[in-house]
């Protein structure tokens, strides 16, 4: 698990630069850059082991919050591999800053432009015309998360839980945390 790497200032800047480039390529979310990140961090520079790379993705998936946080975990591990906590913190900060700064500037600029030009026919058409697709993406994310793609006979209790949760949310006002807790309980008892 542990490995001893040395990071020079040049290496830190290279890390930042890699993330900044990927930021502008991350249409559909940072997760779409994982193949390229694996190539850079594991194969080209050897800053992470393959096991650390995989674990970072798995941990981020288990934790709440936006998916992009997996880069924090990766940056943290890159720093930790040099053997110190401050380096780990620097790695985490470098990764998230690089991954978000370029895309965030672009998002703020474009959204400000859209607000100023919100009455233009083209802008209205874009924002309204995307609605069916955006709704489809929300439902698709749910179906993929539910495991609808790799469903076999053993998956049906889990799919049933997703369906029941969806029905409850559609019909009853209930706080999400109760439902999440119920899901965790059913899962830990081995029912789903």
């Amino acid at each position: 698990m542990s490995m001893a790497t040395v990071m020079t200032w040049h290496d830190w800047l290279t890390l930042l630069w890699h993330f900044m480039q990927l930021s502008l390529l991350s249409v559909g979310g940072a997760i779409s850059t994982t193949a390229e990140l694996q190539r850079l961090l594991v194969q080209q520079h050897g800053w992470l082991t393959q096991a650390q790379f995989n674990d970072s993705l798995a941990i981020a998936k288990a934790a709440p919050g936006p998916n992009v946080l997996f880069v924090v975990q990766m940056g943290w591990n890159v720093g930790m591999n040099t053997g110190s906590w401050p380096a780990a913190a620097l790695g985490a900060a470098t990764a998230i800053l690089g991954m978000l700064l370029p895309s965030s500037c672009l998002a703020l600029g474009v959204s400000a432009w859209c607000r100023r030009n919100g009455e233009r026919r083209g802008v209205r058409a874009f924002q309204l015309g995307m609605a069916p697709l955006v709704i489809a993406l929300m439902v698709s994310a749910g179906l993929i998360l539910a495991g609808a793609r790799e469903a076999d006979a053993s998956a049906w209790p889990r799919l049933a839980l997703s369906a029941v949760a969806a029905l409850i949310i559609l019909r009853i006002r209930v706080h999400m945390l109760w439902l999440l807790a119920a899901g965790a309980l059913l899962g830990s008892l081995g029912i789903v």
């Binding site: 390529l25 979310g29 779409s32 674990d55 970072s56 941990i59 934790a63 709440p64 919050g65 936006p66 998916n67 992009v68 946080l69 924090v72 998230i96 978000l100 895309s103 672009l106 998002a107 703020l108 474009v110 959204s111 859209c114 083209g122 209205r124 058409a125 924002q127 309204l128 015309g129 995307m130 609605a131 069916p132 697709l133 955006v134 709704i135 489809a136 993406l137 929300m138 439902v139 994310a141 749910g142 179906l143 998360l145 539910a146 495991g147 793609r149 029941v164 949760a165 969806a166 949310i169 559609l170 945390l177 439902l179 999440l180 899901g183 965790a184 899962g187 830990s188 008892l189 789903v192």
Partner: protein, 191 residues
């Protein structure tokens, strides 16, 4: 978009309120946060209408960067400018990042433990239900849409098939279905 029609709409009173709102919703988001944003900001706090939420999301989705992060920046910016954008972003990232690093300290200990893995499976199944329910709720907005309802619903259904069953990469789906939707709307919005 400027809200010229309703001036009494609730909104955050200070950037710190944005920070708390986004922290709370991000910590509830397993497997993705977009559905929780809709639930908390549109349904519970009523800071945005369903239409405004979808319009902002359309922009956040086609730009590079995580779409919920883009959305949080855009919403924060709408209320308090750059300060608001940074407050929302900090809320979205700080709590979950700390939670994740804490989790990773425990990870080697609990990875492979059947009860823990089971609990996670259950949480993710419920989160999946939230996404599906939110998507279905949002179809209500297609009733007040320039495209006829059956066409809107049909396009959404085709989108689900492309993404889930045919496994189209996102850029292809965005271009094909998003492009079609935008062109049709442009034509229907004829002045």
């Amino acid at each position: 978009m400027p809200t010229t029609t309703s001036t009494t709409r609730p909104g955050p009173l200070a950037p710190v309120e944005l920070f708390t709102a986004f922290s709370l919703l991000a910590l509830q988001g397993f497997g993705g946060v977009m559905a929780v944003v809709q639930r908390e900001l549109v349904e519970r706090r009523r800071w945005l209408s369903q239409e405004e939420f979808l319009a902002e999301w359309a922009v956040a989705q086609i730009l590079p960067g995580p779409n919920v992060v883009n959305l949080s920046l855009m919403l924060g910016n709408r209320y308090f400018g750059l300060r608001g954008a940074l407050a929302s972003l900090a809320g979205m990232l700080c709590g979950p990042a700390l939670a994740m690093l804490a989790l990773s300290a425990l990870y080697t200990q609990f990875a492979g433990h059947p009860a823990v893995e089971g609990a996670l499976r259950g949480v993710v199944a419920v989160a999946a239900g939230l996404f599906i329910a939110t998507g279905l709720k949002m179809t209500a907005m297609l009733r007040r849409h320039p495209l006829p309802l059956p066409l809107g619903l049909g396009m959404a259904a085709v989108g689900v098939i492309c993404a889930v069953a045919l496994r189209w990469p996102l850029p292809a789906t965005l271009l094909a279905l998003g492009g079609t939707g935008c062109c049709l709307c442009y034509w229907r919005l004829k002045p």
